[in-house]
């Protein structure tokens, strides 16, 4: 089975801190994605990547950046965390466009 691993289940950070959320997949998938999930808003796409060093903005990229130096790892960076970035962050990967996503277990980030 494909495994998508997010390094932290829960994180508490202070406003203004630089935050790194890490995601690793073990099946050589081309595409990787970062979503955030908020009550009443569903899942919203932050950034995605379809190859190493390639990245595309999703629907809500403001305040975030990403890094994909190796195929298996896709990092989400909050340059200066703010309280409105408190959310559940979900990483996903898939081998190609016609396939469903495999999601990681999620990181619940609280910014205080």
């Amino acid at each position: 089975d494909v495994k998508v691993t997010q390094s932290s289940r829960y994180l508490v950070k202070r406003t203004g801190e630089k935050v790194f959320l890490e995601c690793v997949q073990d099946m050589d998938h081309e595409n990787m994605f970062w979503y955030r999930q908020d009550p009443g808003l569903g899942l919203r796409l932050i950034y995605f990547s379809y190859d190493v060093k390639m990245k595309e903005k999703g629907d809500i990229p403001e305040g975030y950046s990403v890094s994909r130096e190796k195929k298996e790892r896709f990092s989400l960076i909050l340059e200066s965390a703010s309280t409105n970035q408190t959310s559940m962050y979900l990483c996903a990967s898939r081998p190609g466009q016609m396939y469903g996503y495999t999601f990681g277990s999620g990181t619940r980030l609280t910014v205080v």
Partner: protein, 111 residues
Amino acid sequence: ELKVEQNPLFLSMQEGKNYTIYCNYSTTSDRLYWYRQDPGKSLESLFVLLSNGAVKQEGRLMASLDTKARLSTLHITAAVHDLSATYFCAVGSMGTDKLIFGTGTRLQVFP
């Protein structure tokens, strides 16, 4: 811009009953997905629907796709408590790698 709507948002149903969740989307798409999420957990893939008229079944759940109507349904047959979860549909944005998710349907099955 692709928009995805699910209804109902909340569904409380008795064990043994049947019900349908609807997923409407606003622009042409060639792929639609259904996911399940248990409280505090991540999303689990249920179905991938890639063509008009596609029907997939797994246990008490059956999903179908009508691309002309821009509508997918998730039908629940003889509900059991274990089906209690939030169900999301997600629609592929044509020409991109993006999936747009609906806001989810929270299903609660009671005895």
